[in-house]
Symmetry: C2
Subunit: 276 residues, 2 copies
Amino acid sequence: METKIAIQGIKGSFHHQVAQEYFGKDITLIECMTFDNLVDGLLKKDAFQGVMAIENSIAGSIIPNYALIDKNELHIIGEHYLQIHHNLMALPGQTISDILEVHSHPMALLQCKEFFRKYPHIKLVEDADTAETAKRISEKQLMGIAAIASKTAAELYQLSVLASEIQTINNNSTRFVIVKTQNSVLSKDEINKASLKFELDHKRGSLATVLNVMSDCRLNLTKIQSLPKIETPWKYAFFVDVTFDKYEDYEKAAKLLTIMADHFKILGEYRNARVL
Amino acid sequence: METKIAIQGIKGSFHHQVAQEYFGKDITLIECMTFDNLVDGLLKKDAFQGVMAIENSIAGSIIPNYALIDKNELHIIGEHYLQIHHNLMALPGQTISDILEVHSHPMALLQCKEFFRKYPHIKLVEDADTAETAKRISEKQLMGIAAIASKTAAELYQLSVLASEIQTINNNSTRFVIVKTQNSVLSKDEINKASLKFELDHKRGSLATVLNVMSDCRLNLTKIQSLPKIETPWKYAFFVDVTFDKYEDYEKAAKLLTIMADHFKILGEYRNARVL
């Protein structure tokens, strides 16, 4: 049961790759076309764990996914970083001059924008998933249309790679989180990272005060993101990730922040996947 | 010459509305299909000022636009907030049960997601611009396809509104910035807000130290966003917006930050458009 993993996208997608790297090859994949569907699947217990992209080096945080985790009371129980390699692929026999349209996920199109500046005749069309487009081109034998996806997708759906590594920035790392409806069962020794959310008034120095507490408690800040609170002018929500050596230090900071900030919430406690 | 305003999108788009509210009706609109095109237009001097969406209450910052401003050395010379009202529109005579596909900008689709849960037969298709889809439906007399756009777009392109105010969250405010290749000519008395960028090491407390300086100099933080520096692990770039009463306070903070942080850069100094 525990190996049923919900991903956004289909076999051959980057989420699939993360699921395999994190959980191993012996998993049952629940393919979801949107992140909303993925969350619905977890709530309905079609799957017990889900893989969700949460930020990348180019576009920053995927705020709607933070909102999904927050609103549906999901727990982040782990994280995984994946270097994204984009490849242009089409039906065998097609060359790049045959291609009139490239369909892919908006993020993939954004990450390969520079490459397509050389090919102004190619129209970029947004699609739901990288691998799904590859599959569709193959199934419907679509001529003149190319996909941007992983090498695995090209192999799975028998497409030829017209150009490989077409991402603009080579160090294109995307961070994924593993989410569950129940909390993680890690021991305090294993936990060295946490994702937190809290609210503060727009008062001079209020964030500085909170960060001072974190720093005093020996927490390292690896991410911070403010978001104005809808319906409440001048009130801000902050999403913060921290790493730490000792769980006790973090525990102390969490107790202080519960008092100092409004609606302090732990989105997840897990093991830092980034190697120093 | 100064009234040539570059916008992302076409007549009837939300960018068009912002351009009119900020500069008045007497402007020459330069329609650009992408933000990249908009920047190209400014650099080639097709237009002297541009309007660019920069963040909204639902999806947060539009990081690629920050990157465009930063990379191309544009200056933010003003800001404008717009309440976004989304309307579903199609050819006159069509009803909602006739609609098979809705085409719009990914952000508009995201903001109206809840509405379409009631209509599972409608496929959501991402498109480049809200108004452009409305125009296309009208020009090509497309049946079965609806657009999500402003009331102005419906009037301009003779479409019927099938449902109005279909955004999930009613207080859906989007922040736009006005950008130029040259710096602003505002006097110090008029300036009470600035957008800053700086880099810091991943060292415990480094951000807290910077925020303490800002707080000591009586700056209010209205936005903060960290972004891992690509190619440099453990180094972070921060995009920060601050408001202040006295330019002298801000000037002092800027001098200190130049020394304390790496690559301190002023993206723009302008007048706060948000009413308290």
